[in-house]
Symmetry: C2
Subunit: 234 residues, 2 copies
C-alpha cells in the first residue's frame, strides 16, 4: 500500500515479527530463526533483517545475544517514554500565558539531607532558589531547587529574578545524567499557600537530580497544581 517499491523494508519485517508475537505464533522465550534465515524468508539482505530485529530489541520486544540468537521476551518490558517538557512550553501548549516569579534565592551550606542525597562533601555551598510558574494568574508549578556552587560557579552571579533557574541551567551547563522521580506529596502550609490549595491537598511532585560526568549539578523538586496529569502514549 504505502511502499511503492517492491523491496522488503525493515519496517515490514518489524511488523511481521510483531504480528507473529502478538498472534502467539512466536511464543514468549521462543528462539527466532537467525538473521541469515530470516533474510532468505523475507528475500532481503541480512542488513535489513538486522535493523528490524535491533529496533524491536531496543523497543523491548526481543532479546538478542551473540551466538545465542534472538528470543521473544517473556514479559516484554515495554518502556514508556516521557518527554519532559519545559514548563513554559507546557503552559503554552495548554493555552495559557506563561509567567514566572522568583520567590527567594540565597547561598547557603548544603543541608544534611541534600548532602546525603547528592553525595556532597560536608560544608559545600549550594544556591537555593524557590520560584513559581504561572499559567495566567493561576499557579501552575512551585519549584524548589538547589544548585551546587562548586559544579556551577557562575551561579553566584546569576540573576534569577527574570529567568527561571531551569532555563538558566539549560543555557549554562550541560548535563550527562538525570534521575527523575514522580511521587505524590501532601501540601504543607507553605506549599498550600504557593499553589493556592487547601493544606493537606495531594500534590503531584517530580524530583530531578542532574549530574555532569559524575558531579552533582542540581536537585529540584517541582510541585504541580491540583489536577496535573503526566501522560504519555506508546
Amino acid at each position: 500500500m504505502t511502499q511503492p517499491s517492491d523491496t522488503t523494508s525493515y519496517k515490514d519485517i518489524k511488523q511481521t515479527v510483531l504480528r507473529r508475537i502478538r498472534s502467539g505464533e512466536l511464543q514468549p522465550d521462543a528462539l527466532l530463526p537467525n538473521e541469515q534465515e530470516l533474510a532468505i524468508e523475507f528475500s532481503c539482505t541480512r542488513t535489513t533483517v538486522n535493523r528490524a530485529l535491533r529496533e524491536l530489541a531496543d523497543e523491548g520486544y526481543l532479546e538478542r545475544r551473540r551466538k545465542a540468537g534472538t528470543r521473544v521476551l517473556s514479559a516484554p518490558h515495554r518502556q514508556a517514554r516521557f518527554t519532559i517538557p519545559l514548563v513554559r512550553d507546557e503552559v503554552e501548549a495548554l493555552g495559557g500565558t506563561y509567567r514566572y516569579a522568583l520567590v527567594s534565592s540565597d547561598l547557603q551550606p548544603a543541608p544534611d539531607w541534600l548532602s546525603a542525597r547528592l553525595a556532597l562533601r560536608p560544608d559545600q555551598n549550594v544556591m537555593h532558589v524557590r520560584c513559581m510558574h504561572y499559567s495566567g494568574n493561576t499557579p501552575f508549578q512551585f519549584e524548589d531547587r538547589w544548585i551546587v556552587v562548586d559544579s556551577v560557579p557562575q551561579v553566584e552571579q546569576a540573576d534569577f529574578s527574570t529567568i527561571g533557574p531551569n532555563d538558566w541551567l539549560v543555557q549554562t551547563v550541560p548535563f550527562t545524567n538525570v534521575e527523575l522521580t514522580f511521587l505524590a506529596s501532601r501540601a504543607d502550609a507553605t506549599l498550600a499557600g504557593f499553589l493556592d490549595v487547601p493544606e493537606g491537598e495531594p500534590v503531584f511532585t517530580a524530583e530531578r537530580i542532574t549530574w555532569l560526568q559524575g558531579q552533582p549539578v542540581t536537585f529540584a523538586k517541582m510541585y504541580f497544581a491540583v489536577g496535573y496529569r503526566m501522560t504519555t502514549e506508546f
Copy 2:
C-alpha cells in the same frame, strides 16, 4: 582503548558530536555538516555517519529533515524512559513476598464516564475487577480495572481469584497502544481502607488505557501505597 580496530565507529561519531554539543562548539539550532562531509571528516562511509546521527536524533539531541539537514535541538527534549514493571516483579525486587487478593469482580454495563473515556458504544458490557497486591502483609497497590467484554470475550470465563487481571490479560490478549498517566489522588474512605492509610492521604496513582488496533481493551487505575516513588535514570 576499547576498540582494537582502527576504523571509526558510529559510537565514536556519536560521542564526538555529543561532546561538540556539550562544549558549545555546536550551538543550539546550529546546522551540522551534511552526512557526506562528516563522512569525509571521520574518514568513514556515509552509512556510518547516518547511523550515528539517526541515533542521536532518536535520543532527542538532533533534529533531521531531508534537504533541510541536521540541526542541534535548542531545548533537547530528552526523554525519560520508564520501564513499567509487573507488580510482582516490583514487590520482589524490593525484597518483599508478593501476595495477590481479589476484592470483587462483576459484569456490568459500562458506566458513562468509562464509555466516554474509551469511546465505547452505549450499553457495552465491561468486567469490573478490583484487587489488592501486597508485599508480605503490607498493602502495596490497589488495582481498579475495567475490561471491555466485546474486545476480550474470554473474560466472561476468567477466574480472577488466583491470577491478577493484569497477568491474565498479558497472557491472553495482545495490545498495540497504551496511554499511561501519572497523577496524585486523594484517598477516599474506600481506598483508605484498602491501602490502610488515613482518609485524605495523597496517593500516587497510575492510569493505564490499552488498545488493540484501535479497539479499547482495558482501563486500569492503580493506587500505590504511601511513599511510593516512580524513578528512572537517563
